[in-house]
Structures are given as structure tokens and as C-alpha cells.
């Protein structure tokens, strides 16, 4: 990272109500730095939306819209359509490309917003969909989502004496998006900002739909001290739990290969949502990661 001169423009203002150490705020700030000011953002209901726009305050310095929980992709479709029509028919929006970016959490994307997302991707709208994945419904106190990982304890998948937390593996959104045949899919992590920002830039430049799923540790929902947000995100990548890759026009490319994959122990032990795990549970998780990494060639 040395020598990198990150853009100094701040299109995401301070004063928002995100928790101290909020990963979602980092996602938004970095995404806007990469996309630049000729951007319109559509946001699903969720943490990012609530914490950034309590009337009459907004943290956004680009045009921004929120309508509902399940429809950010549909709202963005409408915006993309309007910009195209108004450029063509009424000489509005200038000659430069306007980036339309939809932000949705894992609930608003992989669960309730899944249909709208699938429709928007399949229709080929020129938009970037950024799924900020904190692996549960964090806006309402950490209920499980389709993106909650195996054995994580949430308020609706609590670790009890009979059930070891979430009993299903995490929904594989990048592969589902790949099956839509869209031109660009990427995973990212807030702990690798240069990688994420390059991906956002590329996604904006590409014609047609792009989907980026960025892992975003959540201090409150995952249960760790705020200062660990970046460290935990980094561990997810270093352990192979969250590989960084992109699929461009069907070509899979791994973007980061740790010299030696770390064991998952430390990652799990740093978070309250995993504190119920026994050594046997941890080996189970490790096995699943090893299998997955084999697939990815990690």
C-alpha cells in the first residue's frame, strides 16, 4: 500500500450515526472515493441508510435515494432508465457517464431484496450493486440472514444446548450472480481498500451490471472491540474464509493469495458470536474452509 495516494475527496461526510468502528461507513466512504462525484446512490433500508440520513441530516454528498428494504436494485433500475431517457430525450445529466450504485446489506440483498436484485442483474442495467455483508440483520439487533455463516450465533439462531448456532452454510451470492451471466462480479473486504476501490472503479466503467460483495465486520453484531474491525476483516481473508476474487466476463481470477493460510481459530475466538464453539466445532469449520479453498485454488 505504500506510495498509494488515496483520493482526498470526501463524498461521505462525518457526523453520521454509525457505531464507533463501523465497517459499513468504511464501505460507503471507500466506494464513493472510488466512484467519484458523478454518482447516484440507491440504498436499501438497513444500517447504512438509517445511520446516514436522519432528517434533516445526510452524510451523503452525492444524490442519494432510499425507498424500501427489498428494492434497492429496482429503484436503481428506474434511475438508470431515467438517466438514459433524459440524456437522450431532454439533454439532461450531461455527457459524462453517471454511475448508478445500489447499496444493500446482506438481508436487503441475499434475502428480501434477492428477487429485485436478480431481476435487475438479468435485465442488464448499467449499475453497480454493492452488497455490504455483515452476515446478519444488524440494523435490528443481529437476526440471522441467508448470509449468516455456519455456526454463528445470532438472536434468531442462538447457540443453545440443542443447536450450535446457525445450522446452514452462508449463501453463495457471487456464484449465484455468476449464474446470471453479468459482466463483472467481485468479492472484497474493507481491510483491503485499494483492492475494493479498484473493483468499484472497474465496476463503474464496465457497461452493464456489476456485483460486488464486500465483507464488512460489525463490532456490535459480531461482538468484538471496535478497534478490531480491520484486523478481523483481514483475518477472514488471510484464513481463506473470504477469498478475494473477481469474475470478469466469465473469467475467474483470484486477487490475493496469502503466503500461508492462517488457521481459523484466531478469527473465531475474537468474536462473541462464535464463543460457544468447541474445538470439534472449530475443526468442522476449518474443514469446510479447506474444502472451499481447494475449489478456489487457495
Amino acid at each position: 500500500m505504500a506510495g498509494m495516494q488515496f483520493p482526498r475527496d470526501e463524498l461521505f461526510a462525518p457526523g453520521h450515526r454509525g457505531c464507533a468502528g463501523c465497517g459499513a461507513a468504511i464501505v460507503a466512504r471507500l466506494a464513493l472515493k472510488a466512484a467519484g462525484k458523478n454518482t447516484i446512490a440507491a440504498n436499501a433500508t438497513g444500517c447504512l441508510e438509517v445511520m446516514t440520513t436522519p432528517y434533516p441530516e445526510t452524510a451523503w454528498r452525492v444524490p442519494w435515494i432510499h425507498v424500501g428494504f427489498e428494492n434497492a436494485a429496482a429503484v436503481a433500475s428506474g434511475i438508470e432508465g431515467a438517466v438514459a431517457a433524459l440524456k437522450r430525450k431532454r439533454q439532461k445529466y450531461g455527457s459524462e457517464k453517471v454511475n448508478v450504485i445500489a447499496f444493500g446489506g446482506d438481508g436487503g440483498t441475499a434475502d428480501i431484496g434477492f428477487q429485485a436484485l436478480s431481476g435487475a442483474m438479468e435485465r442488464g442495467h448499467d449499475m453497480v450493486y454493492i452488497m455490504y455483508d455483515n452476515e446478519a440483520y444488524m440494523n435490528t439487533g443481529a437476526q440471522r440472514s441467508g448470509s449468516t455463516p455456519f455456526m454463528a450465533s445470532t438472536t434468531t439462531s442462538p447457540a443453545g444446548s440443542h443447536i450450535r448456532g446457525e445450522n446452514r452454510p452462508k449463501k453463495d451470492m457471487p456464484m449465484i450472480m455468476a449464474a446470471h451471466g453479468i459482466p463483472y462480479i467481485a468479492t472484497a473486504s474493507i481491510s483491503y481498500p485499494e483492492d475494493f476501490m479498484n473493483k468499484v472503479k472497474k465496476a463503474c466503467e464496465i457497461d452493464g451490471p456489476a456485483f460486488i460483495q464486500i465483507m464488512q465486520p460489525c463490532t456490535t453484531g459480531w461482538g468484538y472491540p471496535a478497534e478490531n474491525t480491520i484486523e478481523i476483516g483481514r483475518l477472514a481473508v488471510e484464513t481463506g474464509l473470504w477469498p478475494l476474487f473477481e469474475i470478469e466476463n466469465g473469467e475467474f481470477k483470484l486477487n490475493y493469495r496469502p503466503l500461508k493460510r492462517k488457521s481459523i481459530d484466531e478469527y473465531l475466538k475474537m468474536q462473541k458470536r462464535y464463543r460457544h464453539l468447541t474445538p470439534a466445532d472449530i475443526s468442522k469449520i476449518q474443514e469446510a474452509i479447506d474444502l472451499k479453498c481447494q475449489e478456489y485454488g487457495l
Partner: protein, 386 residues
Amino acid sequence: MCEIKVITGTSAAAEAAKLADVDVIAAYPITPQTTCVEKLAEFVSNGELDAEYIKVESEHSAMSACIGSSAAGARTFTATSSQGLALMHEVLFSAAGMRVPIVMMNANRALSSPINIWNDQQDSLAERDSGWIQIYAEDNQEVLDSVIQAFKIAENENVLLPVMVNLDGFILTHTVEPVTLPKQENVLEFIGTYEPKHAYLDPKKPITQGALGDPNYYMETKYAIEMAMKNAEKVIVDVHDEFKEKFKRGYGNGLIECYNLEKAETVIVAMGSICGTIKDVIDAKKKEGKEIGLLKIRCFRPLPIEMIKDALKNAKNIAVLDKSISLGMNKGIVYVDVVSSLKNKKTVNYIVGLGGRDITFEDILEIYTDVETSEDGKTIWLGLKE
């Protein structure tokens, strides 16, 4: 010169959207609205209409895309019906709250269960509190004219509310009849171009739309819509007057239409296509020397309460026809709203035509007779089988 075409109600709505030169259409097909969105697809496909047509995967996304599009400054149209409108329910409130002037055609159709594709007005009446302006058309000409007027009403700076133009499923959507199509230049001159001043997603002037409104602000947003509805009452009349002046056609005063109310003591209050049959009955009875009347409600939201009260001041026996039912109250929705403002009047509620049950000339005759002897406040399900 104007062109007259023999077309369906759905085609009339599509023609109107084309005449209004809409920029974006986002729609999902549903019976009996389908032929409207097919017609629009044909217009776009043939290059007759330059619009972005977003073929969404559901009505919920249709309305969501329309909100995005309208918020970005585009003139936006959609169409739906029944289950589709119900699926939109959540975002209908968003559209009104965000003050985006979307125009939507709704083919009135019964709601499940049992599944039923035929006409009643339960679907749109169930959305009466969403903040949408609601207009009900009597025939296909009124469908076309209402959609054109709807853009001008919705986009008025003192209104800025979405407008739903309702037409009875099959009875109008699938019936062809002569419809006069005005010239597009005249229509565009009438509506004007949409230049949003309050909202426009412009990167050069970034605004935030759809913010969180906490208890300090929420009530005021609702009150603002109520004020806009109040303004709409006048705007609808003005737009209707202007339309009448320009295109030589009108529908009462735009909000209500009084048919033979002056001398009539026995009156039906109704909405939509059934008003045509009622007018035939009134004319037939007039020939026999009996004066009966009709109060047609053209605009249900905003509901012109004072005008309705005034129009019914001579009436003694008031029959309110409802193609809807508020279950658990045994009253139709129109009845509840209209009667809440009438004092010392005998009113009887007739639940008619649910799920497409045909309403005949004889049925209307029977209602006029029945209401004269029926007791106040009664609800009668017309033609209910054992």
C-alpha cells in the same frame, strides 16, 4: 384533426401515456391490465414512443423502479391490477411520501382468495389511504382523458402526488368502443414538460431523498400530503376545466358528476363504469315521468366531501353502490366514506358486482325501487345466492 379509434380501455390508457410522451415505463403484466403494457411495448418497439421500458420481475419492483425514475426527473408511467396493486402496497405509500408524480393505470379486479380475475373495486379502494390521488373512469374515453389529465395534476407544484386512474376490469379493459385521440402536440401543450423543482437526482446538486423521518418530523410529512390533497381538489377542477376548454369534453366538474340530481329525491351514488348503466336507467324512468338521479364520484381521493354534501342536499333516499366490502363492518368502502359526512339522510348500502358478478339494467331499477322503502343504514348484498 382528432382521430377516432375503436379501442379497449387498456389501449386508451396506453395511447394516453404515449401522447404524454412518457420517458420511463416500468411494468409487470397482470390480467386484465396486460393489453396496456403489451400496447406500450409495441409503441416502444416500433419507435412510436421514445421511452425506457423496464420489464421488471414483479409489481413491487415496477413501483420501486417508477419511484427511482420519477425521483430522477423522468415522466413515468405504469399499470397494474388487483394482486399486483396489492403487491405494490408498501411502495405506494413510499411514492406518495416521496412526492413523486407517477401516473398509474389500475384495472380494477377482485382480490384473492378465491382467485378471481374479474371486476370489482376492492383492489384500489384498499389503497385509499396510501396518499395516491384516485380517479375512476366511466368509459374508455374517460380513461384516455383521465390519464392525460393525471400527468398535469400529479406534476402540479402544489400537488406533487402520484395519480391512479382506475378502470373496471374487462368491462372497460376488454371492451372496444370509439375513443377520440387528440393530437400529441395539443396534449403536450396541455400537460407541459416535467421540470421537477423539488427533487432531481443530479450529481451537480446532490440531494437526499427517502431519509429517515423520526417522531419529530413524521407527522408533518403526513400533514403535508393532506395539504397537497386539499390543493389537488382545486387543481383537478382547474385541469378538468382547461381540458374541457381545449378538447371539448368533460366529466362533471372533474371531481363529481351530477346526473339529474336537481329534481330527484332518490339517488344512487356510484363510481366507474356502472354509472353508464345507471344513466340509461335514469333516462328510461324519465320517459315514464319519474325523476331519479346519479351522483358519480370521479375522484375518490381527494374525496370532495363538501361537494358531495351539496350535491345530495335534495336527496331523500340515497343508495350507495359498492364494488367493495370492508369485512367485519358489513359496509362498502365508498359508503363508509360518503356517509360519514352526511347528516340526517337516509342511506342504504348496496354491495354489488363483487368478483365480476354482472350488474344489469334490471338490477339498477331494483335498487332505485328498493332504496325508497328500505330502512336507513341497511346493507344489501345484491343478488346474493343461497
